[in-house]
């Protein structure tokens, strides 16, 4: 006989797996977006702190993006020559961002992120 605690844990696991399935599908279709889905979902389902949630989200985005890149490459959507100019600023910025994690107010970070999403979303829809 399962206790209510065990049942709740099982429900939490299933919710996490469904969230990842959805985030993976979004990443596979749009080439991005998994981070947004994961952060919004993990804040509700996962029990860890904000730093852990951000780290898990980044690890999942890395893994999903790796597989998506391979599949896009096979489909002819990825041109290797576009990678070279991205190399230095992306690696530098990614490392600086991870080092800054925990030093910037999460509320400020989420507000900046929300504003970026609203601007991009409006532009993509209208133009």
């Amino acid at each position: 006989m399962k206790t209510s605690g065990e049942k709740a844990e099982k429900r939490r696991s299933l919710s996490l797996y469904f969230l990842c399935l959805l985030a993976g599908a979004v990443n596979g279709f749009f080439g991005m977006g998994a981070g947004m889905i994961l952060i919004l979902g993990l804040q509700r389902i996962h029990r860890g702190g904000r730093e852990e949630i951000m780290a898990i989200s980044t690890l999942c985005v890395l893994s999903f993006s790796l597989l998506t890149t391979i599949l896009y490459f096979v489909a002819g959507h990825v041109k290797p020559e576009t990678a070279l100019p991205l190399l230095i600023p992306s690696l530098l910025g990614g490392a600086v961002g991870a080092l800054l994690l925990g030093r910037i107010s999460p509320t400020l970070l989420q507000t900046v992120f929300a504003i970026l999403l609203l601007i991009s979303g409006t532009r993509l829809l209208l133009l």
Binding site: L21, G31, M54, L62, V96, A98, S120, G121
Partner: protein
Amino acid sequence: MSGFLFLFLLSVLTGMGVGNGGFYLLYLTDRVGLPQYEAQGANLLFFLLASLASTLVSLRAGRFRGERLFPMLLWGFLGVGFGALLTLFVAPQYARRAFGALLLFGGARALWDNGRRKAEKYANSLDKKE
């Protein structure tokens, strides 16, 4: 140089786990003039590099815990396969519109959550004062 700085700043946001809110994709389609799916491919490479550096730093800081991580990744991979398959059947202009709608939803949701947290914090501080 401005392109370098732009990429660097977007990578800092990606490294903090929040992503770049679709700005890089817009830059590639509207400024560079790449077709939608090709821009998505370049955007993926950018994400790979920025999140690789960030994951290595988080790994060193010991931020990953939990036995659920591996199955979470496996379910995500299944989703990626399905999503990538869809790109072969859906016209790019519909993908662009759908992505715009998703970003708008995400932005509104993030702002709503922020507002709710602030209100809860304020209510808690009032309770403590009483």
